[in-house]
Symmetry: C2
DNA sequence: GGTTAATACATAAGAGAATTATGCATAAGA
DNA sequence: TCTTATGCATAATTCTCTTATGTATTAACC
């Protein structure tokens, strides 16, 4: 598990990007996907994830559909057009940030 | 200027690394060095920098010497042996984090 | 000679983003 | 049957940083 401080500020970027790649996901699925992609190094906590999803929905970046599997409810999230723009922006920002950090730390990243 | 949230958790790493590279620096000098290396994209605030320096000193990672230039006091910081270990650890952590993020975001970084 | 900007340190109050804790409920596996 | 996994949600707390404030010296401009 990574030192969690570094993760701060990356949650939105992560959520938006995996949603873009997968198309349509529910909360728990997102945590598992990120866990897998990160080799168990990034474990999203529910206390951070759900408020983030709600916020992005409220801002019009995500839309939801509810599905009932058996008696269990799943809330699927997908990107709105605005959300699509935001992903690009966030990912670009992150890449630019890494580039800058590479200069400051004088290391090759990637 | 980068979105400041991404910067969270990187302050110690940045401070330690520039100190390692320069050998001996005072607070204001660190802010200017980072400003230069980052092309004005990372502007360390004093409210964050000084408490961090004090903390690292209290933990035995940094040592200080005070110098008086004219009537102005400068507090020079340099790494202790423990501090040297910490830099390596922090930089490695950061590189590992970036690698992980590359996988999660499915992008080439660096 | 006077004003502004830069240099140089420091700390306190407040904001923001996450962790931790808690709560509820269903389904699967041992 | 009991534990683990699945699935959502929110409140309290913690941590880190920004913003604001305070003090003081030096250089640059007009």
């Amino acid at each position: 598990m990574h030192s969690p401080e570094l993760l701060k500020g990356t949650l939105q970027t992560i959520v938006l990007k995996v949603l873009k790649d997968q198309g349509r996901m529910y909360g728990y699925e997102i945590t598992q996907r990120v866990k897998d992609l990160s080799d168990d190094r990034i474990l999203l906590t529910e206390g951070a994830l759900y408020p983030t999803l709600h916020k992005l929905e409220a801002e019009g970046m995500l839309r939801t559909e509810t599905e009932t599997i058996g008696k269990r409810v799943r809330k699927y999230y997908s990107l709105t057009p605005q959300g699509r723009s935001l992903v690009k922006e966030r990912v670009s920002e992150f890449i630019a940030f890494i580039k800058t950090m590479g200069n400051v730390l004088q290391v090759e990243l990637g």
